[in-house]
Structure formats: structure tokens, C-alpha cells
């Protein structure tokens, strides 16, 4: 290793001194004990890295600042394309600044960091000898952040490498992870650790999205080209999130960064898409994206008098703008709109029209105050609406629903001292729920409700010692419907053991007011209803224990076990009539249920090299008990899956990339027929042979398994980087079982097994310009 070049201390350049007394007072009020501890101040260290000889800006330079007074205080970052690096939230003091890049001699400088901003430029000397010492620091810093259990971050590149039908889908990509399963091949609904899709909070850049599906769940609403990554909390999530019993999926959209007009265009057998980004003024960047199916010409071509083919399309549009101030301020605005439209004209008297979609608007402002405060404010609007019309032999039926969520959020992060960070936030959400049902020109249900929800959290992230991290938090909630006040404590503890092992423990209490009313398998007609004062909100208590072993950067092994206790859970009451006199929680749901889920997840990940991938295994148990269901006896929900295996393999060889995904799961639970009986229907005097149900979900479909394959090749397309992809979904065309239906015509019970998707090939191409 070359000896580091040692620089001399340079006078710092300070700018923009500001006061944050107001915010300090707020945090003092929140913590209640702030006066006992001297305040440490935090600052931003930034600068440009250049080549000494040529003066060119250098990217990918690892810059790590180590506080001389306490070498546990380390921050690392990498320089961008313009050579600029940023180290945020540094404690004020004197640092050793280590800068390294392959092909250059590692440089060590001493820098005095003052608040709010210190600029220090680094000049690198080219060297033939490669060093990687600083990488170790960077890696350690990263590992210490990994002490929160049950959280997985999947990057865009990894998402794009996963096999899919047509194009990258972030939610379907998550279904390859242990502990996560899908309702069916055509559903983006996530069943995580024994919880239903409504128990998972789906956020896009921290804004909730209520029905993130296109094409009845075949695709999610997220355009893969515009997604930067997905963070999944499978359970025991921290206090900064709330509102769901089980898990959190936070889809992070790409922030515009390019100084020039760049873009990505993609074409698959189902959709075409385009994403553009560029610069706006000195400090602004924008991004635009659009995606649309182009099935109509094909559908029109095959439609004729003898062949009734519906008309269908979906589209979505994304727009984003980011403004970055010199003092670290950042303003972001994003917009999303997506719609699905299905029209099926059967004849003059009969047709079907389904329309649904999401709209999301959000704007946020981030500011770093002088005294170690990072603040973030946002205003968001998220709306889901569906409008469905059916006309059968001139009889019109209309059903529509809408959820509007207008939220105002304010978050504060404060670096208490070198080893402790406090976060606090307030979130106020005003909702509008509408559900309307009309039959034969007569309104049957006209439900409108406007509750609001206010929550606040406080979170203490404390580095107790070398490799020990304790995160405690509490979330307080008030829900107007029923005037509920709830307190939700959260805790997680991580301990690094040696360099390679980590032990993690986490738990918390969670409540849920909003309930999804969902049809089986499909995701189109789903709607949300709040739990009003006729029922108690659902509650879960979660505990997670995990161990990780990471012997090198190449491999990572993890084992986690979890237990979730559920109370006051609800289930949609299929016995409710179509025109209930009361459209409240008690009438729509079976209430006061209890349940539990428990399991063990094993995960092995190879992250480096030409061949990468992971293998996951889950052993899971889930049970529910409702007084009104299954005779009051405990039963497994249909997504109780005993064994679940996921394997992902990616192999990159030159311009070619090969991928394979394997999924195996215990067969879905279903309720079998246990007897036949006959009763005359008093309304039409017809005798009907009926099936008597056995114990709820006491039988199993055949095990589910499939293999997906993908091949892609990079090439140049008129001077631009391009890639074509060929994908096989369900490569051996196993017709996995979806659900069972019994037919009792001719007095015999004929079970019919509906199958899921066969082999589906798809081809696509994308160009980056």
C-alpha cells in the first residue's frame, strides 16, 4: 500500500450562519431531557476532488472523515461525476480526511469542520498502485447501519435484474424475498410474514398509495425505469412509520440528477415507456416518465363478430422536480397519475366498463439548520378512485369508490452528539372515503366519511458502544372516528459481534384503522374502509430476533425468527347483503378476531462477482380465530404457507446477462367440501344440492413452484447504450393451482381447479441516451 499523502490543515470556509432556536425549543419540548446534555453541533463538509495533474474532476473517490477526538465518529461518501462530495451531519471538530480511489494514492488531510458548511477541496495524485484501505472504513460504517432487523433494501439494478413479465416491477420483485409471497401470478398484493396485503403500508417517496396495481394486479403502478430502489420492512418497523399491522414497503423514485438531457426508452410486448431527465436553471433538475400499454391495435385485429374481445389499456405518468440550494436546502415536487380502462361491449343491452387509478402529488422541503438539525416538510395528496359500470340485459349496475388522503408532515433529525441521533415528526392526514353502489338506477349504498388522523413520533438512535446500536421510539396517534388515542412503543437493538456477526432484536406495537375489502386473487375492485367507532382498531405486537454473518463482501447469511400477536383483527364479512342498512365496520366486517404468526427465515446472499444471487427459505405458521368463523375454532388463513423457497441467480458474462428465479411454496390452504345436502329454496321452490364446507382452510392445493428465466445483452444502438431482453415466465409451464370451485350439477360434486399462468415469453428492449 502506498503511504498516504498527508496534507496540512487548511482554513475552513464558513458560510450562512443561521439560528435554529425555534426548532431546538420544539425538540426540547419533545425530549424533555435535553437540558441535561450539552448540545453538539453538526455541519456539512463538502468540496471537489480533482486530479492534480490534469485538474479534471474525479468521481468515485471515497472520502471518509474521522473525528480525531473520537475515531468512532466516521462519515463516508463518494464523489459524484462533477467531483463533488458531501458529508452531512458531521459533528463540529477536527477530522482526518481520507480520500482514495483506485489508481490514485490515498490522501490524508486534516480538516477543521465548522458549522454550517465547510468546504475542502481534495487533489489526488495518480498512482499505479491500487489501495483499498478506506473502503474498509466505508464498509464498516455501512455495516453499523445494518443493525435494524427485518429491513431489506433492493436497488434499481438488482430489481432490473430480476425476471419479470415484460418489464421490471418493484412489487413483484419483492415476492422473491423470504417471508414475502404473492396471492397469485397476477397479483402484486404482498403477503408478508402471514399478514394480508392490507397489513402492508405501501409508500412512494413516503406518500401512501392505496391500490398500487395495473391490469388487475398483473403490474404494479410503479414504472421500473423511474424507481431507484425499494426498502422493505418485513416487520417490527421503527416509529417513523405507522398505520399498518405488519410491514412497510417504501418505493423510492429516482431523483433527477443529470446535467444534460438524458433518457431511457423501453419497449416490451405489453408496454412502451419513456423517461427523460435534465437540468432546469442553475440548481434545478427535472424528470418525466410515461408508460402505456399498446394492446389496442392487436385487440382490434382479433376482434370480430364471433370473437368478443374487450378493449383495455393502462397508462401512467410521472413528473419530478428537484432544486438543490447551496446551503443544503432541497425542494422536491413529484406527481404521478395512472389509469386503467377496460371496456367490454357485449351487445346493445350489455356491457362492462371498469376504470380505476391513482393520483399522487407531493412536495417537500429539506433544510439543514446550523445546529445539527435536518428538517423535512412535505405536503402530499394521494387519491385512488375506481368507477365500474355493468349493464346486463338493460339492467345497469354501478359501483364506485374513492380514497383521498391529504397529509402534512414535518420531520426533524437532530445529531445529539457523536453517537446519538434524535428524530421526531408529526403527520396529519385528512381522509375522504366514498363508496357508492347503485342497482337498477337505485342507490343501494352511498357511504361518505371524512375522518382525520394525527400522529407524532419520537425516535432515539443511539450508538451505545462499538458495534452496539439501540433504537427506541414511540408513536402516538389520534384518529377522529371514535376519538381513538393510541401509543405505540418501538425498540430495536443491534450488536455487532466481531467483524462478521451481527445480532438483532426488535419489537413494537402497531395499530391499523384502514381496512382493505378485497376480492380473491384480483386487485381491481379493492377498496378501503376505516374502522369506525363500531369496532376496535386492529392491533399487533411484533418481536423479531435475527442473526447475520457476513464473512466478506461477497457473502452474507442471515437467519431471523419472528412472532406476531394479533388482536381485534377484522375480516370482510361475505354474508353482508348488498344493501346493508348500516354501512359501518360492524356490518361490513367480522370483528374482534385474534391471531398469530410465527416463522423462521434463512437467507444466503452472494453479492459480488459475475455470478450473484440469493437463496431464501421460510418456515411459517399463521392462525386466525373469529367467533363467527369456523365455529369459533382457530384456522389458518389461505396464505398460511409452511415452506417457502426462493432462489435468484444472475450471471454476467461480457455483454450477456443470464438470470433465473425459482420459487417454491407449500400449496395454498382452501376449504374442502365435507358433505352434500339438499334444501328447497323457498323463493323459487327449487331444490338445490348444496355443499357443506369442512373446517376452514383445512386442505391444501398442490405445492406452487415455477422457474423464470431471463437473458439480456448489452449493445450499442445509434451510439447509445442499449439492451434487449428475452424472458420466460414459468419456464416449464407448470399450471400451478389457483383456487378450487365445486360444481354440483347432475348431483355429483365436481371440483374444478382453476390454474394460474402458463409459460409466458416476453421480449423487450431499452435504450439509454
Amino acid at each position: 500500500m502506498a503511504k498516504p499523502i498527508v496534507g496540512t490543515e487548511q482554513p475552513p470556509t464558513s458560510c450562512c450562519p443561521t439560528s435554529a432556536t425555534l426548532w431546538l425549543s420544539l425538540l426540547l419540548a419533545l425530549t424533555g431531557s435535553m437540558g441535561l446534555v450539552p448540545l453538539a453541533r453538526a455541519a456539512l463538509l463538502t468540496g471537489q476532488v480533482t486530479d492534480t495533474q490534469s485538474g479534471e474532476a474525479l468521481d468515485f473517490v471515497n472520502v471518509v472523515a474521522i473525528l480525531i477526538a473520537d475515531d468512532n465518529q466516521r462519515k463516508g461518501a463518494s464523489s459524484e461525476e462533477d467531483g463533488v462530495y458531501r458529508l452531512e451531519n458531521l459533528r463540529v471538530g477536527t477530522y482526518r480526511l481520507l480520500s482514495s480511489r483506485i489508481g490514485y494514492t490515498t490522501r490524508e488531510d486534516t480538516v477543521r469542520v465548522v458549522d454550517p458548511v465547510t468546504r475542502f477541496d481534495v487533489r489526488m495524485v495518480e498512482d499505479a498502485i491500487q489501495v483499498s484501505g478506506v473502503d474498509v472504513f466505508g464498509d464498516r460504517l455501512a455495516k453499523e447501519k445494518e443493525l435494524q432487523p427485518s429491513v431489506i433494501q433492493i436497488d434499481r439494478e438488482v430489481l432490473k435484474s430480476l425476471p419479470s413479465i415484460g418489464e421490471t416491477d418493484p412489487l413483484k420483485g419483492l415476492q422473491f424475498l423470504p417471508g414475502v409471497q404473492a396471492a397469485s401470478d397476477i397479483s402484486t398484493g404482498l403477503y408478508i410474514r402471514g399478514g394480508g396485503p392490507d397489513q402492508t403500508l405501501v409508500l412512494v417517496d413516503e406518500v401512501p398509495i392505496y391500490n398500487p396495481t395495473h391490469a388487475f394486479g398483473f403490474f404494479s403502478t410503479f414504472n421500473g425505469d423511474l424507481v431507484d430502489g425499494v426498502k422493505l420492512y418485513k416487520g417490527a418497523y421503527p416509529a417513523e412509520y405507522g398505520g399498518r399491522l405488519g410491514a412497510v414497503v417504501d418505493v423510492q423514485m429516482r431523483e433527477p440528477e443529470s446535467d444534460e438531457l438524458t433518457g431511457t426508452a423501453g419497449l416490451s410486448t405489453i408496454t412502451s415507456r419513456l423517461a427523460l431527465e435534465g437540468r432546469a436553471g442553475d440548481r434545478g433538475n427535472w424528470i418525466l416518465g410515461a408508460r402505456r400499454t399498446f394492446l389496442e391495435p392487436f385487440l382490434n385485429a382479433i376482434r370480430n363478430e364471433d370473437n368478443e374481445i374487450p378493449s383495455y389499456y393502462f397508462y401512467d405518468l410521472n413528473a419530478g422536480y428537484k432544486w438543490s440550494g447551496r446551503n443544503g436546502d432541497k425542494v422536491k415536487a413529484t406527481a404521478y397519475s395512472g389509469r386503467d380502462n377496460l371496456r367490454f361491449d357485449l351487445d346493445d343491452d350489455s356491457y362492462l366498463q371498469l376504470r380505476w387509478g391513482n393520483t399522487v402529488l407531493s412536495t417537500s422541503y429539506s433544510h439543514i439548520f446550523a445546529t445539527a438539525f435536518l428538517t423535512d416538510f412535505s405536503l402530499s395528496v394521494s387519491e385512488y378512485e375506481s368507477e365500474n359500470e355493468v349493464q346486463i340485459f338493460t339492467t345497469p349496475i354501478l359501483f364506485s369508490n374513492r380514497v383521498l388522503d391529504v397529509s402534512l408532515r414535518g420531520d426533524v433529525t437532530y445529531e445529539w452528539n457523536s453517537s446519538r441521533r434524535l428524530s421526531a415528526g408529526v403527520l396529519g392526514s385528512a381522509y375522504e372515503f366514498e363508496f357508492y353502489q347503485e342497482f337498477n338506477e337505485k342507490a343501494q349504498v352511498d357511504y361518505r366519511k371524512k375522518p382525520y388522523d394525527v400522529s407524532a413520533f419520537l425516535q432515539d438512535d443511539w450508538q451505545l458502544g462499538e458495534g452496539t446500536r439501540l433504537q427506541t421510539g414511540v408513536r402516538a396517534r389520534y384518529f377522529s372516528d371514535g376519538a381513538r388515542r393510541l401509543l405505540e412503543p418501538r425498540i430495536s437493538l443491534g450488536q455487532r459481534v466481531g467483524d462478521d456477526w451481527r445480532v438483532k432484536l426488535a419489537g413494537g406495537i402497531y395499530h391499523q384503522y384502514l381496512q382493505l375489502v378485497s376480492t380473491e386473487g384480483f386487485s381491481a375492485g379493492d377498496f378501503y374502509l376505516p374502522i369506525d367507532d363500531t369496532a376496535d382498531p386492529s392491533r399487533s405486537a411484533q418481536a423479531v430476533l435475527g442473526v447475520e454473518y457476513e464473512p466478506s463482501d461477497t457473502y452474507k447469511f442471515a437467519a431471523e425468527t419472528y412472532y406476531t400477536d394479533l388482536s381485534d383483527i377484522v375480516a370482510f364479512d361475505n354474508r353482508a347483503t348488498g344493501d346493508p342498512s348500516e354501512f359501518d365496520a360492524e356490518a361490513i366486517f367480522v370483528t374482534n378476531g385474534t391471531g398469530w404468526s410465527s416463522g423462521l427465515e434463512l437467507f444466503a446472499d452472494k453479492r459480488v462477482g459475475d455470478v450473484t444471487g440469493w437463496v431464501g427459505y421460510t418456515l411459517g405458521y399463521t392462525r386466525r380465530t373469529f367467533a363467527e368463523l369456523n365455529g369459533g375454532r382457530e384456522f389458518p388463513p389461505k396464505y398460511d404457507r409452511r415452506h417457502d423457497i426462493n432462489a435468484i441467480l444472475n450471471w454476467r458474462r461480457g455483454r450477456w446477462t443470464y438470470g433465473m428465479a425459482f420459487v417454491y411454496g407449500t400449496g395454498q390452504a382452501f376449504t374442502p367440501a365435507s358433505a352434500l345436502y339438499t334444501v328447497r329454496n323457498p323463493a323459487d321452490h327449487q331444490y338445490e344440492v348444496l355443499i357443506l364446507a369442512g373446517d376452514r382452510n383445512s386442505a391444501r392445493l398442490l405445492p406452487y413452484h415455477r422457474v423464470d428465466l431471463t437473458v439480456s445483452r448489452d449493445f450499442q444502438f445509434f451510439g447509445s447504450d442499449a439492451k434487449w431482453m428475452f424472458q420466460l415466465f414459468n419456464a416449464y409451464s407448470r399450471r400451478n393451482e389457483w383456487f378450487v370451485q365445486y360444481d354440483t350439477e347432475d348431483l355429483e360434486t365436481e371440483p374444478q381447479v382453476f390454474k394460474m399462468l402458463p409459460l409466458i415469453p416476453s421480449i423487450g428492449m431499452e435504450v439509454e441516451f
Binding site: F393, T394, E441, N574, L629, R680, P682, D684, V740, P751
Partner: protein, 350 residues
Amino acid sequence: MRAHGDHRGGRRVLRMPTGTPIPIRIPTRSLDVCGFVVGALVLLGLASCSTDRDPNDLLVPRDVGVLTIDAVLTVSKPFPPMRISRTGSPSEPFDVGDVLRADDIAEIRIRNDDSSVIVRYTYDTAGNSGFWVPTSGDSQYRVEPDTRYELIVKTEAAELLRATTITPPPFHVEDWVILDEAGQEVVRQLTTFDDVGDPAEVFRANEIVYATGLLEARFDRPDVPAFEVGIFSLDLGSDYVIDPDFFDEEDFESLDRVGSSPPIESNDGTLRLPWFAIFFEGRYSIKIYAMDQNWYDLARSAPGFGDGSPGFGGQAGDDFERPIFHVEGGIGLFGSTSVDSIGFDVQPRP
């Protein structure tokens, strides 16, 4: 935030909390292409087993031989014949004629709360219809409204089946009207059986052109859980009144001349007849039943019972649950109802 990775040209890239990548060069070992292909083929071979299966694997016979009662009392009518059978195995064809007859049952009786009315049943040996009928001495009794009746069945094998029903109040539709297409204005008042003594006159007076306007019943809502509508095409040889483009011959043949609705709460005291319930021209009888709790609970909880069958997912789906029977020692329906009806004649569209 944890570090996470991607690959750029075979180079491992870690992402730091700031989101910026740190390149790390790490030697990697390539997998031989043959190994990859062989591995994939082996996996395919292992995995591509058939999903064909014996359908009987999807049946779990268990509740076989359970007593099943079938009787619905109608207010102001004589006590009805009743049928008692046993459940059969789902893996065998069901024999609808296999009912409990004279040798199987020791006693059947229905009594009201104060036992002032006790209706004893006897097997219809004369007709051997499979039904049990009130004894000749008790056939004069009529079902009273708002009355609690208890059914007791004792078999020769000493099984005891017990059920109760509370009969609805009398039910009468005040107005049968035809509304305009938008369902706003009354364009015509229909003639009822109460208005005209001769039923034939009612059908002549109530001629309606198919899909013209909306037929609505208006009534003072009695205190019952819900209503069901039964529709009966009376002219068995009449032509179809529909001609949908998307129907083939089999679809036409599957159309029934009788049908019923799911339970409807009808909280505003009105019910509208959907035109999709009518397939044939000619005379129709429509009956509206005020349901007791037992019938209502069975109709809403038994998949496949009536036309209110479950939607997507079928009988074995989320709503496949043991119905609410309100029967001790067995299953089935011992319910009650009060009913009103009207007749009309559907004419084809010109």
C-alpha cells in the same frame, strides 16, 4: 440506512447513506456456462412435475349422515309439508330421493310458545312423496304472524333435531308501479290480485313491453331482516324475449323459467325488478317474501343457495364457510315467511 449493492461492469458498488456509490474491486470467480445450463436443465427436470390430480383429493367426506330439515312456514297458510333427509358424501352422487320415511322417524311436531297449537306430522304414505304432512286432525291450523314455533324431530335411532322460528308480520305490497327509464317518475300503476278477483284479468291488465321502464314494488317495510324475490315464468312454451349476440345455443338452453334474488334489505320499502331476470315472453308471477331470521341467515351464508351465490373464487373461496343453520342436532332450514305477489305479461320489444 444499510449498505446495498449493485453491479456496474462486474464491479461491486456499495451505496452509502448519502446514496453515492463507493467502488470496490473484488476478485470474482466466473461460473462455467456449461454448469449454468446443466444446472438450469436439472432444475427444470426436477420441477416440471405434473399438476394433474385425482379430483377426489379435493373432497374431504366428513359430515355425512347428518339430519337435514327442510320446512318453511308461510303466514296465513296451513302448516307446510316438510322433508327430512341426511347429508351425503361429496365423493358420491347425491340421491335426492333418499329421505327419512315412516320407519325412520318416531315423532315430528311443531308447537307454538304456549303449546296452544301442536301440529303433529305423519309420513305421506299414500303418495310416498318423501314428505311429512300434518296429521288430518291438525291440518286446520294456520300459521300465525309474529309467533314463535318450535320444531321437534325424534328419529327411531333416538336422534333429536330441534329448531325454532319467529314468523314475520303480515306483508302487503301497497303499490306495484312502472317507473320511467331513469327510475324517477311513475308512468303506470299495475293491477293487483286484490284489485281484480280474476287472475286472468290481472295478466291482461298488466301487459309490459320488455325492457320498457322499471317495475317497482312499494310497501310499508315490516320488521324483518330482508326480502327475497321469486320470479316464475308461467307460459312454459313461450319464446325468448332476449337475443343477445354473445349467447350460443347452450346458453339459451341453460336459462331457467324460475329464479330468485339474493336477500335484499330494502330499507326504504321499495324493490325493483331487474330486467336481467326475465328471459321469456308471456305471463309471469312475482312473489316478494319477507324472510325470517333463519331463512335470511341461511340464504346469506350458504354458497350456492338461491341466485345469491358467491362471486369470484367460487364456493371454495374465502366465503366458503359453514352456513348459519339455527338447527340443533342437524342442519337445514326451518324458517318462515309472509308473502305478496303480482302477475304481469311480458311482450317482446317491437
